[in-house]
Symmetry: C2
Subunit: 199 residues, 2 copies
DNA sequence: GCAATTACGAAACATGTGTTGCGTAATCGG
DNA sequence: CCGATTACGCAACACATGTTTCGTAATTGC
């Protein structure tokens, strides 16, 4: 049952992830140096590379740790449920945002992770799975609201959620504007109530 | 009027940008090597660094080149105008998307540019200005439609455009789903018509 | 206890980015 | 024409990432 050879030092994973997280949060993605992590953790670089084949993999592992498992609440009030869910996504983004580089509200880490997902097929596969899960949960929530008559019967759930989640990412990565609960409420109102006059 | 010393070889800029674009499009952001660009262009590295202080600056210059100046058309039909504008943004994203790494529909380049904007204050300033300009144009378009009664008087124009543009970026960078004119039409319909039943 | 297996540490190495120093070339102002 | 100024090319360097090699340590199955 136990693997054949010498077992890995399980303390190393914990220690390395903690040190790496501190470095990313303090100096940003570029300030995360493998050499420095190895030195501070008191292990050789080879030990790190055995667990995370690249710096990107280590960084993804760090970020994945501080992402709370997005659990969805279905109170029956689609407006409140959507706001809650968006706020959870926003909170995860803001947590990474705090790990900016030289500037305060920098979205560098999020962009780096997107790039990392594109560079390494396995990371991309992993993150896409994560996002697919989030998407499935949201679409199911919307579908339930539609079935109980809270939402239009002919709505485009995919476009709706793309818009809501996309606006959060757009703000964090592109415009740099803040994302908080108040903004989540604005988004949901805008999306649910529509913008045409002819009604 | 003319600068004091030896003038720069203007052919170098053109040649370097063309070669760098070819490299990015063929091998992705990571495949863009300063040494290789210098060699293929037949110039020294110092000549490149005199014009673009980092690889990030060169890459941004390459991408800025193939971004058509977003001109907005105001036909008086807000739905058609928004679809047109979104399609222009989508076209620019797809052009970068073609410059993927190892996988076809990779959004790595877009993510790298976001990261680059966070790494270098001047790039961030430049791109935020660019996005602010785009935002101003879109908000003005929406405002005109609102004033002529096509849209609700109490709409949230910022949230509306964040949602539309954000959905495009979200798809390109996060989910990897395609963005084309058909999707732009779905977005605009979803946003304009709203999703509640009570109407 | 012994062989196989796996983890670990130390060091050297290859590659790419970005910087620096120096000699040479081109242009302008006088 | 001459000096100041700027561009250019060549070479070397510092630094970080990531790979590889080799010797050693710990654990399992027999």
């Amino acid at each position: 049952m136990a693997p054949r050879g010498r077992p890995r030092d399980t303390q190393v994973d914990e220690r390395v992830l903690r040190i790496a997280a501190a470095l990313i949060f303090e100096r940003g993605y570029g300030g995360l140096s493998i050499d420095e992590v190895a030195e501070q953790a008191g292990v050789a670089k080879t030990t790190l590379y055995r667990r995370w084949p690249t710096k990107d993999h280590l960084a993804v592992a760090v970020v994945a740790r501080l992402q709370a498992d997005d659990e969805i609440t279905d109170t029956g009030d689609i407006r409140a449920d959507l706001v809650d869910y968006l706020e959870k996504i926003a909170a995860a983004l803001n947590r990474m945002r705090a790990a900016g580089g030289h500037r305060g509200p920098s979205a560098g880490t999020v962009g780096e992770l997107v790039a990392a997902a594109a560079r390494h097929e396995d990371i991309g596969h992993l993150t896409r799975e994560q996002y697919a899960k989030r998407n499935t949960l949201a679409l199911a929530l919307i579908e339930r609201a539609r079935l109980r008559g809270e939402l239009r019967a002919d709505l485009d759930a995919e476009a709706l959620f793309d818009q809501l989640a996309g606006a959060l990412y757009y703000r964090v990565m592109i415009t740099g504007a803040p994302v908080d609960r108040a903004y989540a409420e604005r988004l949901v109102s805008c999306a649910l109530e529509g913008n045409m006059t002819c009604r």
